[in-house]
Amino acid sequence: MIIAALVPGLPAAAAILLVIFGRRLSEKCAWISVAALAGSLAAAVYMLVAAFRGGGEEPFVHATFEWMRIGGVNIDFGLYVDGLSAAVLVMVAAVACMVFVYAIGYMHGDERFPVFFAVFSLFTACMFGVVTSSNLLQLMVFWEVMGVCSFLLIGYYYERPDARKAAFKAFITTRIGDMGFLLAVAAMLGKFGTLDIPTLMKHIEEVAPEMQAFLWLMCALLFIGAVAKSAQFPAYIWLPDAMAGPTPVSGLLHSATMVAAGVFLVLRTFPMFEAAHFLPMIAGAGIFTAVYGASLALTETDIKRTLAYSTMSQLGYMMAALGCGGYVAAVFHLITHGFFKSLLFLSAGSVIHGAHTQDIREMQGVGKTMPITAACFLVGSLALAGIPPLAGFFSKDAVLASMLGYAGKAPVQGSIILIVGLMTAVLTAFYMFRVYFGVFTGPGKKYHESPKMMLVPMIVLASITAVAGAINLPGVTLSLAGLLEPGVLEQAVPWLMALSAGAAGAGLYIAWESTHLRAALHGTGPLPRNLQVLYGGIFLRPVFRVSRFLREMHMDQIITGIVVSPVVWLCELAAKLNPDVLYTAVFVNGVGRIAGALAVVDVRVVDGAVNGIGRAGLGIARAVGFVDARGVDGAVNGVADGTIAFGGVLKRLQTGVTANYALFMIVLGVAAFYVAWWLVR
């Protein structure tokens, strides 16, 4: 248990240490974070080994402590580590370690260096927290604090308006999704009286038949949270803008953490989605996002944004796999994607570091002078494209196999999903190699290869990417599938493997053919005649046309517009609908006059009383000052009109203000007393 606590604990402690000692240590302080993460990684590996030994049947750690008790309902916090969390933890820790080392090189010379590493460490700690939480409420705490850290990291260059805007957009978009999460958690706590994940899942599986509608609603709400965090359509709009953050941030946020948290939430609560028969919704949303993201990536000219769209597309893949019941496939792809996407981001960062631009049209022949970066980017691209034998090939094949499995159950939907999935595979290889060939091959300027501090982590990640497919070889017991679903052996589908490799190859070939033609690379200009004859008419041109159409539609702006404009309009309307206006209308002509009339009466009634009370305290001048007509005249407020009348009384009474106040209370108190008396009578 202590070992499990170390995983999030170490980077959190590092964050605190950095806040305290950061300034004194200057750039050396980053090694505290790296050491902490290395510790986390060791702990995670230890737990993974232990989880394998346990055969994956029982959770390795499930320890809870009383956190709070609301209305007789206990909420515990604690740690929960099973095969799923152990596997994801190892991946996150490994990627984070590498990204942090890379960041030491990348952020060198930054004036807020220690602050960056402090927030970055806290961010990573939160991701570990999400993965190890035993309780949904606790998970949400880490989830949201991670959101805040991402807000601070995306907006790290806060002098730049676009960075501030991107940070705002990311936080608000995910916050909207979090409302679904929040409602689901609050409602389920009230209904089931527990938020302990394993207990809750067991309970839900028991009661599922009686409360389908409620569960379906809960799943929908949870899924909204996951959609926003994992940048699924239509909540993807924050993801491309989030590239305004420093590249190491993108490398961690959009590969192994943050966006992975959404998928992880669905994985964690998977039994519930199954029981509520909610999976087809996830499959549909996921596959649409997958193909949509890939289409957008096809004509994007910013290298980081291309990768962002690719992330969105791959997350859609994972969701689609989950929706098709491919639990293991989704975890598998989540893990391999974490590795190769962080590799791609880090390589892209290295290119940006050398070329001082993010626009792929301005980068040419980078490979000549930055060979290591080019090689790493190539490995990442091959993996993402799904070329065997790299990691991406195996995980993508597993995803496709789960779609095939779904097609066996629901032929129509399943076949559509499978076909779109294969199409996306072609597109993926296409857009990735369009970037690779365009940026790295051919003649070009002289660039400087990045420092070792950046290259070493990239090489390590590239090596992992090359072999990570081995963690889930079909037919092997000691694999991810053996860990997650013991007893169920994955069966290889040779023809599907061939098809998926073929799709990747086709994409790669198209990219190769079209790359000499810069026009196609930019997604602008006509295609040359021979290509058009070949496949332009059948495949390429419509694809480009669709991609360009989608990009020019500016869907993100439409979505933002649909959400933002009416909200702004309503807020302004609400601000205008000040109830004061209504009160004025009622009181100016009504109460104001009555009060004035009363005031005249009061003079006579209370005069004697005042003399009795005595002329205590301050002079009238000050009292009058407060209720002076001039002080109120700006506001056409009826209530105040009444006051002026009362003020007149005060003026005439010539007594201390305290006494007047007492008088007010007595008079009104007596009035209240009479009304009460009258009512009681």
């Binding site: 009383e66 709070m68 008790r69 609301i70 209305g71 007789g72 309902v73 409420l137 949400m140 705490v141 949201e144 604090v145 805040v148 907006g155 806060y158 002098e159 308006p161 501030r164 940070a167 705002f168 936080f171 608000i172 916050r175 909207i176 409302m179 929040l182 409602l183 609050a186 409602a187 706590l189 009230g190 209904k191 309503l570 807020c571 609400a574 601000a575 109830p579 009160y583 407060f626 209720v627 002080g631 109120v632 700006g634 506001a635 407020n637 209530v639 105040a640 009444g642 006051t643 305290t658 106040y661 007010f664 209370m665 009104l668 108190g669 209240a672 009460a676 008396w677 009512l679 009681v680």
Partner: protein, 494 residues
């Protein structure tokens, strides 16, 4: 401690101190200020002592003291404390102490200000301790006077309008409330003993018609105080004009008197009327949440924005009360406490920003993080606490209220999340431009020291620590409130 009249002591400390302040010559400003700090510290100490000795887990009134006052009509000096009022008493003494610390910075008419601060403290503590309806009303009114003068004398440009509006609004509210209290007496057990009245009400001895009348009258008084939409319009004006300490106590403590009254008197003594009215109360709460946040989003004045955020946050209190199940009441109590802590902190911070830049206009405030880094960091923290970030105190109250609301009024409650999103939007927008964005040409300038004064840090850091502590570990608070919450929920059968 048994037998010692600690609650009376708690009231006597500020009372005696206020007399001493009156006797001290106005020229000795420094002595007066430090004396006030010492007195409020003593009151805080007494309240903390009460809290540590409090039997956690009991739902009943503790430390009861009763002295006949006008026995002929059943009036008595009767005070007591339970799990519901204790946190509010603690909040009051804490915020008064921090306000006294912050007042060390004050130079204008120190003597009167300190006197009013102590007077205000008596009234606020008294309201939460009183168990006699007349005593309750006296303390309730006692609170108005110092606040009226605080706004009227130390306020901003438009202070006269604001103070008069505050005065009229709350006076009308409280007089109608008095009517309700009197009806409780006449229709009830003919005593002002609130425990007797509540017992009478729970025995079902008020007819339904009587309950409606009384509920309506009391509701108006409480609703103005909370404030519940649409009786909130005095609040933004009062806040904008009030001096920093006035705003802190106004938002931090005064608003809670309304929520406390609703729970103690309306729910306690008039269960049937409460049940019948609760759907509307929940709706008003949710409207307040969304409306307050929506209007806050359009504000150009920093202080007005925080004021409207109060309207929004107090909506969660109303929602929790309306839900009237254990979770709802827990949430309302928690939200009252945490709103006092967080919004108190925000008003202190706004005051500090104003002192430096001499403007509260959001569009002109830029780059606090580079001008005064500590202020920028604490302000960012306060914004996140206020927008309900899980892990900080604001979230706990909101979540628990929502949980309670979802059980009783699922559909109405669900709309509240719109307010939460809007809240995030206006706080982030403000934080980004005020704290982070670099100064522009027409931005207000500040070239003073880059550090905060110790009085400033002393005023906000304790609040920040509490906001974090409760956010991470709210159990002690819930242990205190939950028994009372369950007892209250039982009254209305939820």
């Amino acid at each position: 401690m048994k037998g010692t009249p600690v609650l009376t002591m708690l009231l006597l400390v500020p009372l005696a101190a206020s007399v001493v302040v009156l006797l001290l010559p106005a020229s000795q400003a420094k002595i007066i200020k430090w004396f006030t700090v010492a007195a409020t510290a003593l009151a805080l100490g007494v309240s903390v002592a009460i809290a540590t000795a409090f039997p956690v887990g009991s739902a009943g009134m503790q430390l009861l003291e009763s002295v006949p006052w006008v026995p002929a009509v059943g009036m008595a000096y009767k005070v007591g404390v339970d799990g519901l009022s204790l946190p509010l008493v603690l909040l009051t003494t804490l915020l008064c102490f921090l306000s006294a610390l912050y007042t060390l910075r004050l130079e204008k008419q120190v003597k009167v200000f300190c006197f009013l601060l102590l007077l205000l403290q008596i009234g606020m503590i008294g309201v939460f301790l009183a168990l006699d309806a007349v005593l309750f009303y006296v303390f309730w009114e006692l609170v108005l006077v110092p606040m009226f003068f605080m706004i009227g004398i130390w306020g901003g440009e438009n202070r006269r309008y604001a103070s008069v509006k505050f005065f009229i609004y709350t006076l009308i509210g409280s007089v109608v409330m008095l009517l309700g209290l009197l009806l409780l007496y006449f229709w009830g057990p003919r005593t002002f003993d609130m425990q007797a009245i509540i017992a009478w009400g729970q025995a079902g001895k008020f007819t339904l018609e009587q309950q409606y009348w009384i509920f309506g009258a009391l509701f108006l008084g409480f609703a103005v105080k909370v404030p519940i939409f649409p009786f909130h319009t005095w609040l933004p004006d009062a806040h904008v004009e009030a001096p920093t300490v006035g705003s802190v106590l106004l938002a931090g403590v005064l608003l809670k008197m309304g929520g406390y009254g609703l729970l103690r008197v309306s729910l306690g003594a008039l269960p049937q009327a409460f049940i019948d009215f609760s759907p509307y109360l929940a709706a008003l709460g949710v409207i307040g949440i969304v409306y307050g946040a929506a209007v806050a989003l359009t504000q150009k004045d920093l202080k007005k924005m925080v004021a409207y955020s109060s309207v929004s946050h107090m909506g969660f209190v109303v929602l929790g009360i309306a839900a009237a199940n254990a979770a709802g009441v827990d949430g309302a109590a928690m939200q009252m406490f945490t709103h006092g802590i967080i919004t108190g902190m925000l008003f202190f911070l706004v005051g500090m920003i104003y002192e430096r830049y001499h403007t509260k206009e959001i569009a002109k405030l830029r780059g606090v993080i580079t001008a005064v880094p500590a202020l920028g960091v604490i302000f960012t923290f306060a914004c996140f606490a206020s927008l309900g970030l899980p892990g900080l105190a604001g979230f706990v109250g909101e979540f628990t209220s929502l949980m309670g609301g979802l059980q009783t009024f699922p559909v109405t409650t669900a709309f509240a999340v719109i307010g939460i999103v809007l809240t995030a939007a206006y706080f982030l927008r403000t934080m980004q431009s005020v704290v982070f964005a670099p100064p522009e040409e027409d931005s207000a300038r500040y070239d003073g020291p880059k550090t905060m004064a110790w009085t400033e840090l002393a005023a906000v850091l304790p609040l920040a620590v509490i906001a974090l502590t409760i956010g991470v570990f709210p159990a002690p608070f819930f242990n205190l409130v939950d028994p009372v919450a369950q007892a209250l929920a039982k009254i209305v059968g939820r």
